[in-house]
C-alpha cells in the first residue's frame, strides 16, 4: 500500500501556512541568516523532552506546551499581519460570512 510521505508518522509536518514572510517575524534585528533561525526554533520549540512544569508560557494566549513551531510562527505572524496590533491583546478576527 502506498504511503503518503508528508503524512508519515515519522515525519514532522508543519501544518500551518509557514511561508517566507512567516519566518521573517523571528528575525527581528538579530544577525545571522533567518534559515539558521528556523533550525533553532524548530528544535527548541518543537523538540526536546517534554516535562510537565508548574508554569505555563504562552504565545498569543495559547500554551507553549501545546504549540509546535508551525503554530507559533503562523499564529503570531498571521495575527500581527492581519490584525495590525500586538498579539495577545485580543482574539483574532475572521471575516464574517455575508
Amino acid at each position: 500500500m502506498a504511503t503518503d510521505p508528508a503524512n508519515d508518522a515519522r515525519t514532522s509536518v508543519f501544518e500551518g501556512t509557514l511561508l517566507e514572510d512567516d519566518v521573517e517575524v523571528w528575525d527581528t534585528g538579530d544577525t545571522g541568516d533567518r534559515y539558521a533561525l528556523v533550525d533553532l526554533v524548530n528544535r527548541l520549540l518543537d523538540r526536546g523532552v517534554v516535562i510537565t512544569g508548574d508554569i505555563t508560557i504562552s504565545v498569543a494566549g495559547v500554551d507553549l506546551a501545546y504549540l509546535g513551531l508551525n503554530a507559533v510562527l503562523t499564529s503570531v505572524t498571521t495575527a500581527r499581519r492581519t490584525l495590525g496590533r500586538p498579539v495577545g491583546t485580543d482574539r483574532p478576527e475572521v471575516p464574517s460570512p455575508e
Binding site: 509536518v13 508543519f14 511561508l19 539558521a36 528544535r43 523532552v49 464574517s96 460570512p97
Partner: protein, 238 residues
C-alpha cells in the same frame, strides 16, 4: 521560577562556574536519584529569539562534556522541590533516553529549494475577501497549495536521505512548506562520526545540485528524545 535546560546523569560534571542562562542567571544542577537537571532562576517567562539562544547556549555547553537530554524550551517550575518531584517521577524514562543517546550528537541538513511554479496556486496576497464565500475559497486554494508543497518537500527530503546513504542512522524529517526551504533532516550520529557525516552531506550535494544543502550541528539530540521517539532509520523507501 526555575527554568529547565537539560537532563544528564547525576554523576556527570556540574555546569562550569560562571555559566549563565536566561536572564543572566547562573546555571546549576538539581540532582535526584541517578539524574541531574540543569536549571537557573528566571524572572520572566517570555518567548524571544534572545531567550531561545540563551537556552540553547546552556544546552550546548552541557553537550561539550556529555550528551544531555535537552528539555523543550518553556519548561518552568515553581521551585526546586517541584522540579525534583517531576524528575523523580520519570527517572526511568530519562535514564533509558540517556543511555540511548550516549556518545551521540544531532547533526542536521537544512535543505533549500526554489519553488518557481505555483502548483495549485492560491493567491498569496494581503487582499481581503469581500464575502464569506470568497474567504472560504481563498482558504481552500491556499490549503491545496500548501498540501502540494508538503508532498514535494517530503520527496525532496527522501531524495537527500538516499543520497547521503546513512544506512541504519536514526533520522527525523521536518517538512517546512516554505518557498525557499524544503525542510530539515536531523540525524543522530556518534561524536566520532561527525566528519563522516559532513562528507556524506558533501556527497549528497554533488548529486542534488538543484538543491541547497547546509550542514548544521552538532546539536544536543533535540529530535531524538521524548516518549514518542519519532525517528526512523534511514534511508527510507517511502
Amino acid at each position: 521560577m526555575i527554568h529547565a535546560y537539560c537532563i544528564r546523569y547525576g554523576v556527570d560534571p556540574a555546569p562550569d562556574a560562571g555559566l549563565v542562562g536566561i536572564d543572566g542567571a547562573e546555571v546549576c544542577v538539581l540532582r535526584t536519584g541517578k539524574i541531574g537537571l540543569w536549571v537557573s532562576e528566571s524572572a520572566g517567562s517570555g518567548v524571544s529569539i534572545h531567550r531561545l539562544r540563551e537556552h540553547d547556549k546552556v544546552v550546548t555547553a552541557a553537550l561539550t562534556t556529555a550528551t544531555p537530554l535537552p528539555v523543550r524550551f518553556g519548561t518552568c517550575f515553581r521551585d526546586e522541590a517541584s522540579a525534583l518531584g517531576a524528575m523523580a517521577q520519570r527517572e526511568a524514562d530519562f535514564l533509558a533516553d540517556l543511555a540511548r543517546v550516549a556518545g551521540c550528537v544531532e547533526m542536521g541538513v537544512r535543505v533549500g529549494w526554489q519553488v518557481d511554479d505555483e502548483p495549485t496556486c492560491a493567491p498569496n496576497s494581503d487582499r481581503q475577501p469581500t464575502s464569506g464565500t470568497e474567504y472560504l475559497e481563498m482558504r481552500r486554494l491556499r490549503a491545496n497549495r500548501v498540501k502540494d508543497l508538503k508532498l514535494r518537500a517530503a520527496e525532496v527530503l527522501t531524495e537527500i536521505e538516499k543520497a547521503m546513504q546513512l544506512e541504519g542512522v536514526p533520522v527525523v524529517r521536518s517538512i517546512l512548506p516554505v518557498r525557499e526551504l524544503a525542510g530539515i533532516l536531523a540525524h543522530l550520529v556518534q561524536r566520532t562520526e561527525i566528519g563522516s557525516y559532513r562528507a556524506a552531506v558533501d556527497a549528497a550535494k554533488s548529486i542534488t545540485q538543484h538543491l541547497t544543502l547546509a550542514t548544521t550541528g552538532p546539536w544536543a539530540p533535540y529530535s531524538f528524545v521524548g516518549a514518542d521517539g519519532g525517528y526512523h532509520f534511514g534511508p527510507t523507501d517511502t
